[in-house]
Symmetry: C2
Subunit: 199 residues, 2 copies
């Protein structure tokens, strides 16, 4: 049952705009003035809907995770560990240079270091990055059980390696690296992966 005056702005559209601001300027660099202007609402509406600037970021991060969940489902559905790695790195080369978004990855651009009062933001972002690594780890552990990876393979190291390269690609993309440059990095990384994991 809904009562009272209905919200006059579209929640998801507003979150998409907020996401872009955080993506481009980081948490500290994204001022309320920027956010409210981009979202097309006033500060009191923002606080009524999200509670705080940090609450807004978390809502935007949830939406970001939702966007990427379908990609990750496809990645993890790769038939072999090597295919999974290839899908993972390729999709990142594409998404991190998608002109529809700011370059790089929100989970990296959002803030590796923050000022006083925002100390927990880097932890929040790190925790979300770690989720992807955990998903890869689970898939590689499965691959090992399946005999798809050799018995001496180290799924932890492989997942961590891919996660590290992904973050590095985020840094490169935010610095202006284009899609082909990221594809080349993915290609070299994949060679390393194959040697460590399979040969």
């Amino acid at each position: 049952m809904v009562m009272g005056r209905p919200r006059s702005f579209d929640m998801d559209k507003a979150l998409d705009e907020a996401m872009e601001v955080f993506w481009r300027h980081g948490y500290d660099g994204a001022s309320l003035a920027m956010l409210t202007k981009a979202m097309g609402i006033k500060a009191p509406s923002l606080y009524a809907a999200f509670g705080s600037k940090e609450g807004l970021l978390k809502a935007a991060l949830d939406r970001y995770a939702l966007r990427r969940s379908e990609h990750m489902r496809y990645v993890l559905a790769g038939p072999t560990a090597r295919d999974v790695a290839e899908r993972f790195l390729s999709s990142i080369a594409e998404s991190h240079t998608d002109p529809a978004n700011p370059p790089g990855c929100l989970l990296v651009q959002g803030g590796l270091a923050c000022g006083a009062g925002s100390e927990n933001i880097p932890f929040e972002l790190a925790s979300r990055r770690a989720q992807t690594e955990t998903e890869l780890l689970g898939r590689f552990a499965q691959a090992k059980e399946d005999g798809d990876l050799p018995t001496d393979a180290d799924p932890v190291a492989l997942a961590r390696f891919l996660s590290t390269v992904a973050s590095g690609m985020g840094v490169m993309a935010s610095s202006g690296a284009n899609r082909d440059a990221l594809r080349a990095v993915a290609s070299v990384s994949l060679n390393a992966f194959a040697r460590s994991g399979q040969d």
Copy 2:
């Protein structure tokens, strides 16, 4: 010829303190209050010596580069391309987890995204990161001339790959990855490097 009242604080010591603040909180997150407290000087002294907050960052970056120049000299002196890569990644695993410094890399932590009025900071940092990549590229091009790398090797891709992994390791370190974790990443990366560059 020196005239007038001499500076009463040690420039290099103050810069080391400023470096640590920028390293830990990023450019935007480092307030003048933090900086002046850490440096043990007042704002007017800071502005007289460095001109602006951005000038202070650049001075700290210069000092950071100075610190790492000896490491890079050792790295580039590696006898083979593979040795260079190994030295590069190993030294990063160590330096990014050196308890004497904040975790990660100043050139990454300093700010991938900034707020209004600091838009050029990410460019400045990216340009400094690119210098290392260029140095690696030069070394690998030399290796190719020497016949140390096969004729079909791609020095640009190899240098970019190592630079990307280095940035990724910076992200991981700032998220709490310990030295062994980074060493494992370096090890996997090195396998990929060898396969792409030499086998």
